[in-house]
């Protein structure tokens, strides 16, 4: 079996009496889209926060590219090749779409200590940023401020910033939320091709997209992983149907 790109081992996190993550071990293998589904409040975002380093687990381990990164800050994990998109957009709202994408390109270049010369005039950064915007379909709004985008467009911009990083693994928190039918088809097609560049841990409520994309699906409920398997296995799983899928399966 190939070594996973990203994995957690026995992760625990409690907020007071609420156990938001309980003994979660999950992995992401090269070339796959691994979807994580579960009802609201299941602990999906909390799990992502621990994987990306914005939240420290109480117990357990996070491994990235064969290294224990449990104690590394988010920026260090990002530099190792982990790209995250946020469920609640974390963009520079006063800045334009292009500037947000440029920030990603600047992070990838890893050299922010340049005090002269316009960032927008840097052909290398700009090429990278514009290519990413083009891929998610935000090219025509490049000059618009992030604050003026629709919720769906902000999600797309989140994905574009992740693309500029040219990462080794993507972790996406509900990238389809707020997108119309056309937007989600477009993003589905993009993610489908993207797994060849880097595997994707995909938290998503849009079951059409999940079933179309996922190589494997894991189900979180009440902080616990209750199942992991192929699309067919998960659709057939009684516990999963009871906890989450209901009629969708």
């Amino acid at each position: 079996m190939t070594e996973p790109v990203l994995s957690t081992h026995g992760l625990h996190k409690a907020f007071g009496a609420l156990a938001a993550t309980q003994d979660v071990s999950i992995d992401l293998r090269p070339g796959e889209i691994h979807a994580v589904i579960g009802p609201n409040g299941a602990g999906k975002t909390t799990l992502i926060a621990q994987i990306c380093g914005t939240l420290a687990p109480d117990r357990g381990e996070v491994r990235l590219l064969g290294r224990d990164v449990t104690r590394l800050p988010p920026a260090a994990r990002a530099r190792m090749g982990l790209a995250r998109t946020f469920q609640i957009s974390a963009l520079a709202m006063e800045d334009t779409v292009l500037q947000n994408a440029l920030l990603g390109a600047l992070g990838k270049a890893g050299r922010p200590w340049q005090f002269f010369g316009a960032a927008l005039g840097r052909a290398d950064l700009r090429g990278r940023a514009e290519a990413a915007l083009d891929r998610v379909g935000l090219w025509d709004v490049a000059a618009v401020r992030a604050a003026e985008l629709s919720h769906g467009q902000r999600r797309q911009l989140e994905v574009a910033v992740a693309l500029t990083l040219g990462p080794r693994a993507f972790v996406m928190d509900e990238p389809m939320a707020g997108l119309g039918a056309e937007g989600s088809h477009r993003l589905t097609a993009l993610l489908d091709g993207l797994r060849a560049e880097a595997p994707i841990l995909l938290v998503e409520h849009d079951m059409d997209a999940v079933f179309a994309l996922a190589d494997r699906i894991s189900v979180l409920d009440g902080g616990r992983l209750i199942a992991t398997g192929s699309v067919a296995e998960i659709r057939a799983d009684k516990a999963v149907r009871a906890a989450y899928l209901g009629d969708a399966a």
């Binding site: 990306c52 914005t54 800050p73 988010p74 920026a75 260090a76 990002a78 530099r79 790209a83 995250r84 946020f86 974390a90 963009l91 520079a92 709202m93 006063e94 800045d95 334009t96 500037q99 947000n100 440029l102 920030l103 990603g104 600047l106 992070g107 990838k108 890893g110 050299r111 922010p112 200590w113 340049q114 005090f115 002269f116 010369g117 316009a118 960032a119 927008l120 840097r122 950064l125 401020r145 910033v161 500029t164 990083l165």
Partner: protein, 327 residues
Amino acid sequence: MSRETLFNAAILALLVAVPGWALAAGEPFTITLATRAVIFALAAVGLNIALGLGGLVSLGHAVYFGIGGYAMGILAWHAQSHTPLIDGWLTLPGTKSMPVIWLVAIAASALAALLIGLLSLRTSGVYFIMITLAFGQMVYFFAISWPAYGGEDGLPIYVRNGFPGLNTLVPIQFYGICLALLCAVLALNAALARSPFGLALNAARQSPQRVECVGLDPVRLKLVALVISGAITGLAGALFADLNRFVSPVMFSWQMSGEIMVFIIIGGVGRLFGPVAGAGLYVLLEHLLGGVSEYWQIFLGGLLLIVVLFARGGLAGLIAGRRVAHD
């Protein structure tokens, strides 16, 4: 040309025209007032880099202003009293040379900003404000209780320091020096705001999480911004002491920190010429109303209230419209 460019150009024109008129009309006091405004503007441009770009509400910028002032005071005092500045295995004299004094003021205040930043940037929000204020108070009381350089009474410097090729005792010449420095720092500020560093710093103000997730360290970005900011305000402090030929612990006081921030709020936070407009208006009001009443700051308070309630963007926002993204 955008409205903001026009606004900036108009302020620059005033900075040339008013002292020019005063020179022609033989009104040296007006030149001194203009010099005061330009120096305050310089201090506030410094703070605006931390506040406007980095979102750092530092209520302790008087620390850097005062350090710049004392850098001038101490160096010039040793020179005028012919006592060595350092007398150990190495003997260093004082100096009356402005460029040397500026470099020392910039280096010392940058170092102070680095140390204060390392400690205070672990916090944010109201805690950051409180820590910067606390540092300001510590330095203020240290200055009062330190007897070597005049303590509470401060240090008088008898003759203004010199600049190669100029006669700094002539008000318009000293004004020219201050204005040239202000313009240089404004150009630096404009360059910073558009640079890759500025892009990252701007984002760190708006969303630290975003900056982390692209692999950059928002705290380090803000630390560098604070150091640049402190260095500029320190330079202004050296000039202020030279204008008054006097330095005292008042330069370290929290009122001073507050005033520097008021310049920015009146003029427009994060706007290139906001601090210049604010400092200019402040000095004008101080001059006009200060003659009417000792308590003229009541009017200033009223003005501040109006700005905060009705014109968040300050003068720049009012006249030049809302901030547009850098192109």
